[in-house]
């Protein structure tokens, strides 16, 4: 059992949970993730380790509530516990040892960019972060990233920072030259747009892929993605890959496979919830 020690609302649908997982807190590296299983009957879902406090024995999970499983997780309160957390899984991020790196985070992906920027900063790499959200209230991890280097914030509506997409800002930064490597984590269309930008420039670009997973140990193959024309298992071969080789269309498509089921699951949960409220207890 993994007790939740603190809970924080980061944006209208993004929640941060700091959870007890001492061993993982001790050894996790940037880019790695855990698989979380709320309780018997729940789904197993992969979540990136956004931060860790080895002394306190906690890891930070940043969760965007979209479906039933993520809603159930963010409904947990401090003192309550998650049944199973396994990790750290996946390969650590490929880092450069010096020079300049550009870290681009979109939405909840910003939480994944954070440990990468941490790792780079620790090595003495100069980090520029570009983070974005729909509007001001959707921007997360700004303060944490500011501690690690320059931060450019973009909002779609211009309510905060630069108006426009993260790719617009990225274009300007890349035009200035000197960027050795780009890390892009966020919604698939965003990662694809960044890759389209960096490919002609020949700037190495690492993306973190988020396919459906079950075991996280290479046992089921459900997380397969196509990279450089080859099938790879994101949980053990990734989750980070050379973005220039990733088949994003296939990833998008495979991510949509269970859409109908997800809606049914949510609808059922809401129905149950309503029943509970209307029935006399």
């Amino acid at each position: 059992m993994h007790t939740i020690v603190s809970k924080q609302c980061l944006s209208p649908n993004v929640t941060r949970l700091d959870v007890q997982a001492p061993r993982i807190a001790q050894i996790r590296q940037p880019g790695q993730f855990v698989i979380v299983h709320h309780s018997e009957g729940a789904e197993r879902i992969p979540l990136t380790i956004a931060d860790a406090d080895p002394a306190a024995g906690t890891i930070a999970l940043v969760i965007q509530s979209v479906g039933k499983s993520t809603r159930d997780l963010v409904a947990l309160e401090p003192g309550q516990a998650i049944a199973d957390i396994v990790g750290p899984l996946g390969h650590p991020t490929e880092m450069i040892e010096s020079g300049r790196a550009l870290c681009i985070g979109g939405g909840v992906g910003t939480a994944v960019v954070h440990p990468i920027a941490q790792g780079l900063h620790k090595r003495g790499v100069k980090v520029t972060s570009i983070i974005g959200g729909r509007s001001k209230e959707w921007v997360i991890f700004e303060a944490e990233l500011r501690r690690l280097g320059e931060v450019i914030v973009c909002t779609d509506d211009g309510s905060y920072g630069r108006k426009g997409f993260v790719t617009d800002a990225a274009k300007d930064v890349l035009a200035g030259g000197g960027i050795g490597i780009v890390y892009a984590v966020g919604p698939v269309p965003m990662m694809r747009a960044v890759v389209n930008l960096t490919k002609p420039l020949g700037v190495r670009t690492i993306v973190s892929l988020n396919p459906v997973m079950i075991d996280g140990t290479g046992m089921c193959g459900g997380c397969r993605v196509s990279v450089g024309g080859e099938t790879r298992f994101a949980c053990v071969d990734g989750p980070e890959f050379d973005g220039h080789g990733v088949n994003f269309d296939e990833l998008m498509d495979r991510l949509s496979a269970y859409r109908e089921y997800e809606q049914k699951s949510l609808a059922c949960a809401e129905e149950n919830c309503r029943l509970k409220q209307t029935l006399p207890s």
């Binding site: 396994v86 046992m219 053990v236 089921y261």
Partner: protein, 469 residues
């Protein structure tokens, strides 16, 4: 009265039939197909055993269960002694009584098979083991005094669990590390409820735990801890992490929506209980027409699962013929009764999809049997120009699994063969001192009982090793 019965009388009894759920009913539910012997059936079947002086059945059993002895005790009505006798040789009899391929092990060599049908050894094993599960309070476990030696076991499948049971009995302090959130390995994530109820696995696991085995789930060796770390913290290590890496066909279209590895399909349904969706949260795609590629137990389990999930048509696509099917005979028989279709001498060459990238069919070629290959089985040869499309909306690939490199990749000095399986000697010893291995990680995908045999033999070798180190 039990006991006094002549050989002639024994020979006159016919093999008793296993009571089972009617095929029409069971094809729509996930409850166990076989219902188990009643006491009366068990006594009749036990009386069929001739109590051979030189029992061939025992030699056919990979863990050498004393078959005539436990069957003799059943026929004398001494069920508790029969259970004690069985458990002494076999740590997980309620499981092997359900999933062992008896027809190629103990029953094939039973002398009664010469003139009529072999003794139903598997059915009797199941009967006694089920009695033991329900009367655990009447059984006594003997345990050697504590040795103070610590053993780590990687993986809680049949190999790991068997070794754990033996090693605690020898007085060692045993911790099992399991990557998933539930112990049991293939027994919980692979083999379906209708063949092996999960409750039985958890009861067997609990029995081991109350005997002193510690099980830590959610620990991936190679990630959470490395093998070198385990070697530092323990006096010996047994690696039994199975063969959990799915093999795909490597044909175009395999990443379309609706293509599953059997591991994923079965894990969703068994470990994650997707057949109860939306009461369980994990979904599985339900197809109207499901094609399962392969002919082993995994393929049979997948296709019968598809049928139970409501597929109007569920079929096996296999490149050889019925005679070469590697699955247990009982599973093939049950599958036929449940309305499973078989496309023999057929090999897929491409998965076909629509513009939304959903599977719509499997393009196949017809095969014929040629010369025997290295394994002695006839090699299937493509018939040129025989391409055709089998319409289907789900494809499950069940053509085998390989060694998962997750653990071994973090330990370069552990010797592997060219397929990535760990190299171990007869006693289970690997190239690293104090590190042993067994089960599917050594043999490649094999059987529950062979994995258990490895666990048992290796436990003895580890005991020797621990005594001298």
């Amino acid at each position: 009265m039990p006991g006094k019965i002549t050989t002639k009388e024994r020979l006159q009894i016919n093999r008793q039939k296993m009571p089972e759920q009617a095929s029409t009913a069971r094809a729509a539910n996930f409850e166990e197909v076989n219902l188990g012997f009643t006491e009366q059936l068990a006594l009749l079947e036990a009386d069929r055993c001739l109590q051979c002086k030189d029992p061939r059945c025992m030699a056919g059993c990979p863990v050498n269960v004393n078959i005539p002895r436990f069957i003799g005790l059943v026929s004398e009505g001494k069920i508790s002694e029969a259970a004690q006798c069985l458990l002494c040789d076999n740590a997980l009899p309620a499981i092997t009584g359900r999933v062992c391929p008896q027809e190629t092990q103990c029953e094939i060599v039973c002398v009664r098979g010469n003139k009529s049908t072999p003794v139903g050894i598997g059915y009797l094993e199941r009967y006694v083991a089920d009695w033991a599960r329900n009367h655990s309070d009447q059984l006594t476990a003997t345990k050697a005094p504590a040795t103070g030696k610590r053993v780590a076991i990687v993986g809680s499948g049949p190999a790991g669990l068997t070794a754990a049971g033996e090693l605690v009995r020898m007085g060692h302090d045993v911790t099992v590390y399991e990557a998933l959130h539930k112990p049991g390995g293939v027994l919980v994530y692979g083999i379906p409820e209708f063949r092996l109820p999960k409750k039985i696995v958890s009861q067997e696991v609990q029995r081991l735990q109350s005997a002193g085995v510690k099980i830590e789930c959610n620990v991936v060796i190679g990630r959470t801890y490395t093998l070198p770390e385990l070697r530092e913290r323990f006096d010996a290590v047994f690696i039994a992490n199975g063969a959990g890496l799915p093999v795909f066909m490597n044909v175009p279209g395999e990443n379309l929506k609706g293509v599953y590895s059997a591991n994923e399909y079965l894990t969703r349904v068994n470990l994650m209980a997707a057949y109860q969706f939306p009461n369980a949260d994990t979904p599985v795609l339900h197809g109207k027409c499901v094609a399962v590629v392969g002919g082993g137990n995994v393929a049979m389990d997948s296709v019968r699962t598809a049928k139970r999930l409501g597929a109007a048509s569920a079929m096996i696509v296999y490149r050889r013929t019925k005679n070469e099917l590697p699955a247990r005979a009982e599973e093939v028989h049950h599958a036929g009764e449940e309305g499973i279709q078989f496309e023999f001498l057929t090999a897929p060459v491409e998965v076909i999809g629509n513009d939304k990238r959903w599977v719509t069919g499997l393009k196949c070629v017809r095969m014929k049997l040629g010369e025997p290959d290295a394994s002695g089985r006839a090699r299937p040869v493509t018939i040129p120009g025989s391409e055709f499309v089998l319409p289907c909306d789900i494809v499950v690939v069940a053509i085998g699994t390989r060694a998962n490199p997750l653990l071994t990749a973090t330990c370069p000095d552990l010797k592997l063969n060219k397929w990535g399986n760990i190299v171990a000697d007869e006693a289970g010893m690997t190239s690293l001192p104090g590190v042993f291995a067994g089960g599917d990680i050594v043999r490649g995908a094999a059987t529950v009982i062979l994995a258990m045999g490895d666990g048992k033999r290796t436990a003895r070798a580890m005991d020797e090793y621990l005594k001298s180190h």
